[in-house]
Symmetry: C2
Subunit: 203 residues, 2 copies
């Protein structure tokens, strides 16, 4: 079983790993090689073109091993997305508007350049016809977007925003127009547009 290029080799710093450690590391390698190959393929061919055969070929992990770790193809796909999708750090500028602008500008940047922005539509499409994928996608997405909730809660603690304001509504008012331009209208997303969207969201 060969190691995938993207997976760093563990460093031993002069100690000899025990048999148990070797076994565990090998399991970790299998998981990370498989997940890395899956995500790489997702970005190249989309979910519809992705086969476990090809994941196996590219990762060097046997198909039977892949199926033992992920009995459902959908959980493999989702785990690959969860692991490699960019996390968004929560900015802390001291103001609601500053925080939301910083977060929205980061998101706009990732929509323009990120691999995940060409992978996500595959998941969204698959979710339309598979309730298991839909539920996993919803959970993963809520985690990915949690920085919005943190920013809104902090602004409410500071008394900058009414406690009645729904964080998910502000999230939709900001992420929605950005996603819309990226995938639906296919228009450019420039920083001035992002700032005006943030202004509207907290108006």
């Amino acid at each position: 079983m060969r190691e995938s290029k993207g997976v760093p080799k563990p460093k031993h710093r002069g100690t000899t790993p025990s048999a148990d450690e070797r076994l565990r590391r090998s399991k970790d390698d299998v998981r990370s090689s498989t997940l890395a190959a899956t995500y790489e393929l997702l970005t190249e061919v989309g979910l519809s073109g992705l086969s476990v055969d090809e994941v196996s070929r590219r990762s060097g992990v046997a198909k039977t091993t892949i199926y033992r770790h992920w009995p459902e193809r959908s959980t493999l796909l989702l785990e690959a997305c969860m692991q490699f999708s960019p996390r968004m750090q929560t900015p802390n500028t001291g103001s609601l508007k500053g925080d939301l602008e910083a977060l929205a500008l980061t998101m706009a940047d990732r929509l323009r350049t990120g691999r995940w922005s060409s992978v996500l539509p595959s998941i969204i499409d698959a979710a339309e016809r598979d309730t298991g994928i839909a539920e996993l996608q919803r959970l993963q997405h809520a985690g990915f977007m949690s920085a919005f909730g943190t920013i809104v809660a902090r602004a409410q603690e500071r008394g900058e925003l009414s406690p009645e304001q729904d964080a998910t509504e502000i999230t939709a008012a900001i992420a929605g127009p950005l996603f819309y331009r990226r995938w639906f209208s296919r228009q450019s997303i420039d920083p001035a547009f992002v700032r005006r969207i943030v202004n509207r969201a907290i108006a």
Copy 2:
């Protein structure tokens, strides 16, 4: 060649169609049967599961005939979507807010119940990996959303809205959050949410 169930048979009202008319009608039937079967399949299996074989089987139109009418699979898919996707009528309530609310509520309703809302992600996903589909999708989408432009232009003529306001930005600020809840966060879209989104968009 059998006729598809969904296609109404032409009525002759006592006249006998000429050979030319028969030929033309037959061509129209072929096109509409194929497009209806394509759209039906798109809603059932998505774009990734859709084959011309299955379109042929379901429509009763020979594969060679389908390829003669649509040499590219992507043009068949897009034409099916353009023909069967719901057109949105432009409301005319006399006020910008009234018009946008009426349009956004109609759109929210179609997102909840419409077939096209389970087809669109397939097109969006395919567009990520095919620039031809991406361009067709962008054009089709601009047409589908044109009611927003009409509403904004009318409000600007009435002096209700500054001529500097960009119609596509107001469209993104309204359609974006609705699409976001339907496909990304998978939250409900109730009328109160729709109204607050419209308020933000024209704030």
